[in-house]
């Protein structure tokens, strides 16, 4: 089964108005189960729009989006995916634990189950001892880890991430990348990851999808097979070759 299947999708914002924008033109994309796919491209190429289409936060103008074998709208209602944005977007009036519990709460999970799950997820991102803290007491990187724990809390088969590490410094970013890979490997989650960092896309992904702007479309899909995804992987010649390949594809 495929995690995400997008075929013939076009998205027009403000149709019929003077500020009409063709954000996506005739996009086809398939994400296999357990696959890690990055979307990369210049700003305005519609990579975030594509992610929002998969999440059913917006509807396509034409074409179909299938998530986990059903329509995107049904998948959203089933909470078949977890999502994380560039801003952690934690609710500042809830403790870290209660933030992670939020999606479970909205699913109607019981108190004990919510708590156990939240503890487990916080363990996964290494923030167990901060469960009782409020978001305002945490650093940006820690907040982002809480947001990832929240996205993972319902153990979704699909993880959607929109530049989740974009606002972080390089060192925090690399640590969180490693943590994310470990989590995805442990849970077998499929991931669609939007980024504007070439090295990040290459390091994380099984496949890097390169997009171009005006109109937004997919121009290349580059398979990445690193010998390992760790510090050694970051030094491997294959890593630098793929970075060069993606860079060339981006230049078009």
């Amino acid at each position: 089964m495929t995690a995400v299947a997008i075929s013939g999708v076009t998205k027009v914002f403000n149709p019929g108005r003077p500020d009409e924008v063709l954000a996506l033109s005739d996009v086809d994309l398939t994400v296999a189960d357990g696959e890690f796919v990055s979307l990369i491209g210049p700003s305005g190429c519609g990579k975030s729009t594509l992610l929002r289409l998969i999440a059913d936060l917006i509807a396509p103008t034409t074409g179909t989006v299938t998530v986990a074998g059903t329509t995107a709208a049904q998948a959203r209602r089933d909470q078949a995916y977890g999502i994380a944005f560039q801003q952690a977007g934690l609710f500042e009036w809830r403790t870290v634990r209660r933030n992670v519990e939020l999606p479970l709460e909205l699913r109607g999970a019981g108190r004990a189950e919510r708590r156990a799950k939240a503890e487990e997820m916080l363990e996964l991102v290494g923030l167990s001892e901060f469960a009782g803290h409020y978001p305002g007491q945490l650093s940006g990187g820690m907040q982002q880890r809480v947001a990832i724990a929240r996205a993972l809390a319902v153990q979704p088969p699909l993880l959607l991430m929109d530049e989740p590490f974009g606002a972080l410094d390089e060192m925090t970013r690399e640590r969180l990348q490693a943590e994310l890979l470990a989590v995805c490997a442990a849970t077998g989650t499929s991931t669609v990851f939007v980024t504007h960092s070439i090295s990040e896309a290459v390091f994380l992904s099984d496949r890097v999808v390169v997009m171009s702007a005006r109109p937004g479309r997919i121009t290349a899909a580059i398979d990445v097979k690193l010998p390992s995804r760790d510090e050694a992987g970051r030094q491997a010649p294959a890593y630098f070759d793929k970075i060069t390949e993606v860079r060339k594809a981006l230049r078009g």
Partner: protein
């Protein structure tokens, strides 16, 4: 402790300024080019603070209750009206804000009238509402209506801003959880609006006090501090300290209401960022 000292220092400074001006100011006031720029400093216009304190302890009329009892009773009466007006106004403001947040068309249609409502002079409105007294409701309730009329406004405007304050990411997150409007309101918008609600409630509290005092005067309702102010002001020529006791009462009433509203937010506002709210 520091705060207590600061409050004490503030009070002492005020008292020193009052007595100091009395000591050096011209008893007939300072007049420049036919305009009085500084007030009269004589005992009739500015009685000594200790005279006012003495007056508080003395009977209101010969053989009657002491003035402080009368003032406290009047304040309690007005406090009741203020509370009723404040609660009603806050609830109406909340309901309007939620309706305006829910329906764009309601916001567009209603918000201008909400703002216009506050430009109607209270003295023009009061006699109209006073007419309901004894017919639709007891007379004191008409004063509460006037207090509510002033109090609902900051709550409606502040709360609307608060309900609209969550970021697009927060709203999208709730949508990704398949949460409907009601769940989003309860889980996201209402908690996010609290930092906007409390400053609005403080403004509403002050407005309710003003509304109650002015409402009592313009509807002629007896028993409250507003009425007492007018009655004592009539005696100002013969008993100048008396009117200041009523003013003191009105000021304390305002502080009491402001303090009570501040207490409301204490348990809820920890770990929150504070926002500045300007309603107009």
């Amino acid at each position: 402790m520091r705060r207590f000292l600061a409050v004490l220092a503030g009070l002492l400074t005020g008292a020193a300024a009052w007595e100091g001006y009395k000591a050096v100011g011209n008893p007939d006031g300072t007049v420049l080019f036919g305009v009085r720029v500084l007030p009269r400093a004589d005992d009739l216009s500015m009685p000594h603070l200790w005279t006012i304190a003495e007056r508080l302890g003395a009977p209101e009329l010969t053989g009657g209750r002491p003035v402080w009892r009368v003032v406290v009773d009047a304040c309690l009466f007005t406090l009741g009206i203020t509370t009723a007006g404040f609660v009603a106004g806050a609830l109406i403001g909340l309901a309007l804000a939620v309706a305006m947040q829910r329906f764009r068309v309601v916001e567009r249609g209603l918000l201008p009238y909400v703002i216009i409502s506050q430009t109607v002079p209270l003295v023009a409105l009061a006699p109209l509402i006073a007419g309901w007294g004894g017919v639709l409701m007891p007379p004191w309730a008409t004063v509460a209506v006037i207090a509510a009329y002033l109090a609902f406004f900051p709550v409606a405007v502040g709360m609307l801003r608060g309900l609209q304050s969550p970021s697009a990411a927060g709203v999208e997150l709730m949508r990704s959880y398949a949460a409907g409007w009601w769940r989003t309101l309860v889980t996201l918008r209402l908690p996010a609006a609290l930092p906007y609600l409390f400053p609005a409630l403080r403004l509403a509290g002050a407005a309710a006090v003003v509304g109650a005092v002015v409402g009592e005067i313009s509807t002629g309702t007896r028993g409250g501090i507003g009425r007492l102010l007018i009655e004592y002001a009539r005696e100002a020529t013969s008993d100048p300290a008396k009117v200041y006791t009523a003013m003191l009462g009105a000021a304390l009433l305002g502080l009491l209401v402001a303090g009570a509203v501040s207490l409301l937010e204490l348990p809820l506002m920890r770990h929150r960022r504070h926002v500045e709210v300007a309603t107009l």
